[in-house]
Symmetry: D3
Subunit: 320 residues, 6 copies
């Protein structure tokens, strides 16, 4: 484990540690001297760094998105801790423990992927089966899916979090449909598989999780409709109504206009998908929120859900 | 099956049929003659009746909440069909087919009650077990529960609908918790059992479903907290925190302030209960909504959910 | 002009007129007799028809979506005028004046299309030019665009209304951009052209304007993103950022989540497009709303805009 | 008056003062050394303390909820002032001036209680009189009522603030009802007395005002319905409708769903109670808000009311 | 009392009664014959009349805003009762009982005005006194104030209702301020007097209550600020801050943006004025709402307040 | 250019610079010594200053609203940079570069005013022409208009920003009306000219932009209605309907209740004015927002618009 983590650095601390350069900008002081402004990140968060001396020299030695070894001292600027950097030097990726930079799921992505594929291959509708197979056969897509996070902060915010959430949701769907008649399970499973798959394009998550421009300007919901539209175009005689039903699951899965769904759920499967997706995310989030203070039954405040949670049973955290 | 149903009566039709007297009010015309205004109901809905002749005589023969045989003719008043009643006479309840007046669940209430009790008696927490047994031991409560409707219109709006919904929810809970660790199943089952039990006081449903004054002024949510509070008072050493957790499930189960919950769900069990309760109600409602027009895949507009639904699979309606 | 229009039929009136059969459903009375329920429409609105005699015979002579000559008498049922149909017989489309069934723009669609193409061919960006040419080269799309309505009720609700609105918007854009620097006019024109083009799939408008299933379940906004995605796929080396900017205009053009945009406008062009689209629709609607009562300066209440409007200048209505 | 108050401590200041230990948590540094994290509070607010040296020794000498004398130096951590504690030692409560730790009403609680009881004993309805006497006869309840605060921050946020607000409201009710006929004054007085009484359980206020778990999970509104339900159970022949009317006042007194009332006010008394309760709280808050800057007519921004207030008359602050 | 009232007319009834002509529009049938469409009103509501025969002749005999005697028969059109008018003839105002056409306050306007002036002349602030005297000295204003209604439907919707509400509010203010220190009573009384005075321009209420164009386009709130601005301009040395405080009471008295106040109440007097104004209106409305059905404790649904009310005490209605 | 700007001062920096004294308050320490608290501002923002020594002496030498030369050192207090002031001395305004204290439009106010007057004098309606001439003839008004800012922060937040926005809007109106028939251009131009003119009273902007009390308590919208009301009073025979239409443009120009418009736009001109006003403000704001970080296509988050913006074309900033 690296020391120190960005989030743990305190005023006056002398630092010698590894960080990822998230942004690197060069400026000139009024007196005409070059300086550098850096955003240094690791899995714990970020810290701003400033290079006031030898800025041009040091700048030549590394780029944005490089791992670097940074030496300097923590100081305060406008109430935030900042590093005055004395030295910064590029470090080869091979020297880095990736988990220091990106949190990841406690579950093995290959095992999860295998289980997910087994569930989906149980689908009987041949058109839907063809659709999921056309996804499985897309190596770029599957590669991204192996690693994509579930979110930046709200729930499953770590590498392979999307896969973890998707698998959990599929298993939940299989259980819930046992309780009802008249549900199109195949359709629902395909919806469960694809409902967030656009997140592989919504985030960049090579060395840190950031929104992409496409993520900001279009969002995963629209991008996964495009993906499905392209896949279906390659499948002969895919029924038009079925295509509509699949896409409807995607566009409505946020459940309400104010959460960015351009249509409300209007099929029983869309209602179920929205409900279980929301539930699975909330359970993961509640069970993994930090506590308010050590030993408290109350969690910290969850901004998106607008409340703290009270936990009388404390689930063992999976990653420890 | 009775003919005609109130909802099927059309202008000019000559009527001879059985109805329940929901309201009965006597008035006097400007010319000084007595007349009666009646609300006549059956399971299909209601129709207004007016008695213009022999009003005093006829009024002596029946009361509010009686079943009556009505003869007369349908006419229109301010755009609504109304009966000009020529004759109205009390009919003994023994002559009535109850299902003509109140729709009821397609499932047997005793069988449902048995299954519900079996599930709840699997609870291991002795305090919670004592709580549900104190409910089972309350004959008035259990009697009401056998018959209470799930709602006036939104979902499960028929006799024993509350029981049907509660049982379906308990079974759903049992399936969903298999997918997660760290959930207090016993607590969740008790919450599922009690979350709507105040509806036995919220509605009167002897011969028709109506809101009670207590239902309007307090609501089932508050009344079931009182019920639980009284039951717990009879159980020695019921832990205070556990009582709090049970009651929290009740007060938060509508999930949002605007739906009448004075607190948001703040435990993982409260989040699950709200989510599954909402889902079970919606599935029942969607699968049983009338279609927009014969043969259409679209249902009529559901006012509370704010939309129509599209059904590509048409569940066999259970009551036919 | 046909007589009578559906909206003008009053109680007891004897009818002999032409209508379009919007729905046709067969039922059986309790007594075992066939009957027909028809939705009969023309440009003024709709009226329900019931065939109680010779239903089987008459039903064989026409189908849903046929034009028919209907004879019968108007009656009232539950406060609405209904036709008791004595005779109904199919009429060949050649006997029909189309404008009796669908209102249409006062402007010539071919002239509008020509003007629209001339404006769009002024675009200098070669990629965007290729995109609009690939649309122009799609005869099915252009055919639909010639006739599609702008909406079912809110604004431009008539045949070729979409084209009229789109052209007006493009001309408005050209004027507005003269007032500012730094606006990407080409991008904005393409956005103006495509922002509602999915409406050609959102509505069916052959003989009457109705929402399609795809219109209800996906909406024009999502469908036009798919259209653009497919067109761009056929254009070599279309820049990814440019594709993103075009699609962002489409997904954000309703301007707010509650109006079904999954993303807010986040470029200056998206802000302008939303604003001018909204303005052009409102101006058309305000100028063409019926007055509250003859001679009044106040219009009837516009449900979607939530208000009546006051007109001190009365624009000559274009269609008279 | 103690020095310094937590809210007044500034960077680098050397501290020797008295505080209440609100939380006390022990941790271990990466290097294996014990340290303590303390939340130190007084009436002005709170400050975080860290003990880096002799943590185990010092920790043995005091507990959470003790008063302590703390010596150390203020420093900054992540933009907030923090104490590096050199020494911390338990201080007996007898050495403490309670008003340094909890603000209290400027009015004498016993005098207020007496006045409140005199008003309520003027009630003529014997059932309601029995209800308030059963409360007066509950020593635990009355003891809590003597001291409970009106809120944590919004209005009357000090010891005996609940009593002060309740008394002011009762007196206001007596004045307002003089202006109208047809108001049930007895009912309204009982509602005024009980509307916030659940706050005695919503807050802990022994040495500092904090929300209790029950306050967070149930809220005062629900807890006071339970209290009334229990009291009424002990009164023979308390009319059911009257019980309903009293409880309705409690459940609806926040006036709107979004403020946590599960029912809207539906009686004229409930409408009046909500209105006057809200008004009395706002007047107190406005008159006691700190000014924006010395001498300004504008107060600081009041978060819950969403605005600053302008005061052209400056009420003498009661506590000075 | 006139017979019949518009609201009491039922299908097929033969009518011979007095009405006010609210609108009168002439049309031509397709066959080329003149006809008239009339809106006939009295205090109970309105009914549409149609003159099919001798339309030109009859039209010459009366105008919009005339009282007329109408003979004809009630029929139904599109679910609403309509009069087929056989004869209509102008009736001199002297033959009319004004209270048949406009409901009016049960209290004497002159007595109310006297009491109101007495209260306001108790004001000590000489500037505010000058302001109210300049209003009293404006005969047109005072004349309108004598008769203006409090609203079209929400509360005090009858002749002199504005005066009744204003007087009740002033008396309520006098009582409430006794409970607090530091309130500027003079300012509050002036605000109470003027807060709705713009309603004299918002409604026309000569023979029926209608919104004026100015009422719709500006509203009473803005118009009364203009009135105050003009009055103050005539008073030498009226302090600028005081003018601001008075106007602030007016612009903020609806209490929230969504109710048309461009500013929130930001002085303690503005908070009190909004609260008591709202309360006084609600009490009047609740006590005077019709019951849901004869004998019910529940009122009909109040659209603006979004609920029905339960009345356990039934205030004698003042007008009977 | 002055150094340093308030926003650029960092911890520990030694300062010798010019500032405007926005507030000056004197206090006494517990030990009995005088100190001063100053709010020092320039165009970049503000910084708090504290004088601990020679406070009485120094205080005599300057007042609120004076320009001063300040010497001292930056320190941190509660996470914000603060100046410990050693010396502060009044500086004559002649020594000050005004643009160091208030940003101003890049366009010449006199040229803008001339262009604005030329546009408005093209109005043909003699009444409206008289109205704008009565404004032009008011030297105090025109003087304020030359300098008033468009806002404190949202858009055009600099000296002469109101004029710049107003002129841009008038030119935009002239272009947009070319696209439509039936618009009252004269009315719209007058509305464009007056829609924000109340901002000359809403802000004080002599040496810094601050809200006035009238701005907070009444707002520019109400104050400009008063202004128009007074001007119209001086114009003989100004038509009442026209006055109403002009004022309606002002009261409705924020377009929605929640943005402080007491009436929605109800004329086509009011709809256009609101739409173009909003658009012109947004374009200016988007094009001039600082970028998120140097070189980024994303701007910082705009609080009022609730989003960041993406700029693929970067408009040359006008002020550089």
């Amino acid at each position: 484990m690296k020391t120190p983590y960005a989030a743990d650095i305190r005023e006056n601390q002398v630092i010698d540690g590894l960080f990822l350069v998230a942004t690197k900008n060069q400026g000139v002081t009024k007196g005409g001297n070059s300086y550098l402004t850096l955003k240094l990140v690791d899995r714990s968060g970020e810290i701003e760094g400033r290079v006031w001396e030898r800025a041009d020299d040091l700048a030549r030695g590394f780029d944005r998105n490089d791992f670097v070894r940074v030496r300097g001292q923590a100081t305060l600027y406008q109430g935030k801790v900042q590093l005055r950097v004395q030295d910064v030097i590029r470090v080869d990726e091979s020297k880095i423990a990736p988990e220091d930079f990106l949190a990841k799921s406690s579950q093995d992505p290959d095992a999860m992927l295998e289980e997910l594929q087994a569930i989906l291959r149980s689908i009987k509708n041949p058109h839907l089966l063809a659709l999921i197979e056309s996804c499985f056969a897309d190596p770029e897509l599957m590669n991204l899916l192996r690693r994509a996070p579930g979110a930046k902060t709200i729930h499953h915010p770590y590498i392979s979090g999307l896969l973890e959430h998707t698998l959990s949701l599929l298993k939940l769907i299989l259980k819930v449909v046992e309780n009802y008649r008249g549900i199109d399970v195949d359709l629902l499973l395909v919806g469960g598989f694809l409902h967030d798959i656009g997140k592989v394009y919504e985030f960049s998550f090579d060395r840190a999780v950031e929104y992409t421009d496409a993520g900001q300007l279009l969002g995963h919901l629209v991008m996964e409709v495009e993906l499905v539209d392209r896949k279906i175009a390659t499948i002969p005689e895919f029924p038009a109504e079925l295509a509509l039903l699949v896409k409807h699951l995607l566009v409505s899965h946020h459940g309400a206009y104010e959460f960015g769904s351009p249509k409300l759920p209007q099929t029983v499967e869309a209602v179920i998908l929205h409900s279980l997706d929301d539930l699975d995310g909330k359970i993961q989030a509640i069970q993994n929120l930090p506590e308010k203070e050590p030993g408290s039954k109350w969690t910290i405040f969850h901004r998106a859900y607008g409340r703290s949670f009270y936990r009388h049973i404390r689930e063992e955290k999976e990653e420890e």
